[in-house]
C-alpha cells in the first residue's frame, strides 16, 4: 500500500561545531514519486539537511536513510555509488565554467559510462531538449542568462536519469518567466522520470504550486508539515507569518536591542 520511502530522516541532529547545533531531532519522510518542499527562513538549516541527504555531511545523532541505504554509515565508495542515483541542482547552477552547456550535460555520461560518443551526443541533446535549450548547447556558461544557466544545470542534474533529485533554492534570483519555467520543469521531469524530488526553498508562491507535501523548518526543528492547502489554511503563528509574508509575528521585525529611549539618551550624552 504505502510505497517505500525514498528518504527517511529519523531523529537527526547536526552541528558544524559541537556547541552550536544546527538541526535538532528532525523527522521527515519522503515517499516515492513525490515532490516535497522543505521551507523556512535563511539559516534555519534546510540546506544543511539537503547536504546530509546527499551524504556530504555526517549527522551527530540520528539516521538518514536514502534509497534504502543509511547514508551516515556509508564509506566514501558507498556514497559515490549512491550519488550516481541522485542528481542535485545547486543554487546558482554551478555549471563548469570551462565547458560548453553540452559538455556540462555530457560530463557525467563521459565520466561514469562507457557509452560511445554518438550515443552520448544524442542523450545530452535529449536532456537539453527537455529543458528547452537544445539550441544553446554550444554556448559557454558565461554566455547564458541566469535562467538559462539554471535550466542547463537542471539538464545536467538529470543526465543519468536519477531516482532522487535534490534542488537547493532553485528559484533564487530568477525573473517571473524563468521562475515559471523552472517550476514547471521540476514537476514535469519528476513525473516523467518517475523520480522523487526534494525542493529546498523559501519561495512560497512557486513552491506551493508544484509540491505534494511541505515540511516547515525553523531554528533547526520541523515546526509544521502538510500539503500546501493545509498550510495555507493553518492558524499556527509561524506558518501563518511565513505563508502570508507578514513582517512581524513569531519571527520579530526588530533585532533584539536595549531600550530605544536609553539608546538615544546615551547618544545625547556622547554627542
Amino acid at each position: 500500500m504505502a510505497s517505500p520511502d525514498v528518504v527517511a530522516i529519523e531523529n537527526l541532529s547536526f552541528g558544524y561545531e559541537p556547541t552550536r547545533p544546527v538541526l535538532h531531532g528532525v523527522n521527515l519522510r519522503i515517499g516515492r514519486g513525490k515532490v516535497v518542499g522543505i521551507m523556512g527562513q535563511s539559516g534555519c538549516g534546510k540546506t544543511t539537511l539537503l547536504r546530509i541527504i546527499a551524504g556530504a555531511l555526517r549527522p551527530s545523532a540520528g539516521a538518514a536513510r536514502v534509497l534504502g541505504e543509511v547514508v551516515n554509515q556509508l564509506d566514501s565508495a558507498g556514497i559515490f555509488a549512491l550519488r550516481r542515483k541522485m542528481g542535485m541542482l545547486f543554487q546558482f547552477g554551478a555549471l563548469f565554467t570551462d565547458m560548453t552547456a553540452y559538455e556540462n550535460v555530457a560530463f557525467q555520461m563521459r565520466e561514469h559510462t562507457d557509452l560511445p560518443p554518438d550515443l552520448i551526443h544524442d542523450l545530452a541533446l535529449l536532456k537539453l531538449e527537455a529543458v528547452g535549450l537544445r539550441g544553446a548547447a554550444h554556448l559557454m556558461p558565461s554566455e547564458l542568462s541566469g535562467g538559462m544557466a539554471r535550466r542547463v544545470a537542471l539538464a545536467r542534474a538529470i543526465a543519468l536519469d536519477p531516482q532522487l533529485i535534490l534542488y537547493d533554492e532553485p528559484f533564487t534570483g530568477l525573473d517571473p518567466i524563468s521562475l515559471g519555467a523552472i517550476a514547471r520543469l521540476i514537476r514535469r521531469l519528476n513525473d516523467s522520470l518517475g523520480a522523487t524530488s526534494v525542493v529546498v526553498s523559501h519561495d512560497v508562491q512557486e513552491c506551493f504550486d508544484i509540491v505534494d507535501y511541505v515540511y516547515m523548518v525553523s531554528a533547526g526543528r520541523v515546526v509544521a508539515e502538510g500539503t500546501p492547502q493545509e498550510l495555507r489554511r493553518s492558524g499556527e503563528p509561524f506558518v501563518h507569518q511565513f505563508v502570508h509574508g507578514e513582517p512581524d509575528g513569531p519571527i520579530p521585525f526588530h533585532y533584539p536591542a536595549p531600550g530605544y529611549a536609553a539608546d538615544l539618551d546615551v547618544g545625547a550624552a556622547h554627542g
Binding site: F80, R83, L95, F107
Partner: protein, 272 residues
C-alpha cells in the same frame, strides 16, 4: 600595577604566537595529507593525459613569454655586470663561464621558479578557489567525480612537468643574452666565450643539478598553489587571500629549498 599589565600583555602575546604556530603546523599537516591523497589519485591525470596536456598549456605555454623575456634580460645584465668585474682582473674571457654557471646552477631554476609561482601558481590558486566558491567542486562531488583527481591532480602534474622545461629555456635564453652583450656588444672573443664555458660547465654537476632543482621547485610551487586554491574560503576575500599566500609562500619555499639543495649539491664536493 604596571607590572601586572605588562605580564598579562606578554602572556597574551605568547599565547597568540603559540596559537599561530600551532595553526600553521596543523595546516602543514593537512596540506601533507592532501598532497599524499592527490598523488595516490593521480591515475586519472595520466590515463586521460589530455587533461594534463590542457593544463600544461595554461601553466607552461602561457608562461613562456615572460620566462623568455626575463631570461634574456637576466642574461644580458649578467653579461654587463660580469664583464665589468672580470675585466678588472684581466679575466674577461671567463665571461662565458660566469654567465653559464650562474644561470644553469642558480638563476635559471630560481628566477624561473619565482616567475612561475607568480604567474601560473596564482592563476591555478585563483581558478581552483573560484571553482570552490561557485560550488563547482561541490557539484562535481555530487556527481560522484573526485574533484581532487579530476581538477587538482592534472594541474599539479602539469606544473611539475612545465617547471624544468621553463627553467631550461630561461637558462638557454639567458646564455644567449650574455652572448649578445658580451660577444656582440662588448667584444669579448667569441671562441674563448664558448670554449671556456664548455670546459667548465659539467653536464652532470651543473646542468643536471639545475634540472633537479627546478623539478623540486615545480613540486613545491604547484603543491602550494593547488592546496591554497582547494583550501580557500569560498568568498572573494578568501580567494584573494589564497592567491597572495600562494605567491608569498612559494617564493619563500623556493629560496629556502634553493639554499638546502645548493648546500647538498655544490659544496662538500671533496666529501664524496
Amino acid at each position: 600595577m604596571a607590572e601586572r599589565a605588562l605580564f598579562v600583555a606578554t602572556r597574551q602575546l605568547l599565547e597568540r604566537l603559540g596559537a599561530a604556530v600551532t595553526a600553521r603546523i596543523w595546516r602543514l599537516g593537512f596540506a601533507s595529507r592532501f598532497f599524499l591523497y592527490m598523488i595516490l589519485h593521480s591515475g586519472v591525470a595520466f590515463r586521460r593525459f589530455w587533461l594534463t596536456v590542457r593544463e600544461i598549456y595554461f601553466a607552461g605555454v602561457l608562461s613562456l613569454i615572460i620566462i623568455l623575456v626575463s631570461g634574456l634580460f637576466v642574461g644580458m645584465v649578467l653579461g654587463l655586470q660580469g664583464y665589468d668585474t672580470l675585466q678588472r682582473y684581466g679575466s674577461s674571457e671567463a665571461l662565458g663561464i660566469l654567465v653559464a654557471l650562474s644561470l644553469v646552477r642558480e638563476l635559471g631554476p630560481v628566477v624561473a621558479g619565482l616567475l612561475f609561482a607568480s604567474r601560473a601558481g596564482s592563476a591555478i590558486t585563483a581558478e581552483i578557489g573560484l571553482m570552490k566558491a561557485t560550488e563547482q567542486i561541490a557539484a562535481m562531488e555530487m556527481m560522484a567525480v573526485d574533484p581532487v583527481a579530476r581538477v587538482v591532480a592534472p594541474r599539479f602534474w602539469a606544473g611539475v612537468i612545465s617547471m624544468p622545461l621553463l627553467a631550461a629555456m630561461f637558462s638557454a635564453m639567458g646564455i644567449f643574452g650574455g652572448y649578445l652583450v658580451g660577444v656582440q656588444l662588448i667584444g669579448v672573443d667569441e671562441g674563448a666565450f664558448w670554449s671556456q664555458m664548455q670546459a667548465s660547465v659539467d653536464f652532470r654537476e651543473d646542468i643536471m643539478n639545475g634540472v633537479i632543482k627546478s623539478v623540486v621547485f615545480g613540486v613545491a610551487v604547484t603543491w602550494i598553489a593547488v592546496f591554497e586554491g582547494y583550501d580557500a574560503a569560498p568568498t572573494a576575500e578568501g580567494v584573494s587571500g589564497a592567491t597572495t599566500r600562494t605567491v608569498v609562500t612559494s617564493s619563500l619555499a623556493i629560496l629556502a629549498l634553493d639554499f638546502i639543495l645548493t648546500a647538498l649539491m655544490f659544496t662538500g664536493g671533496n666529501a664524496r
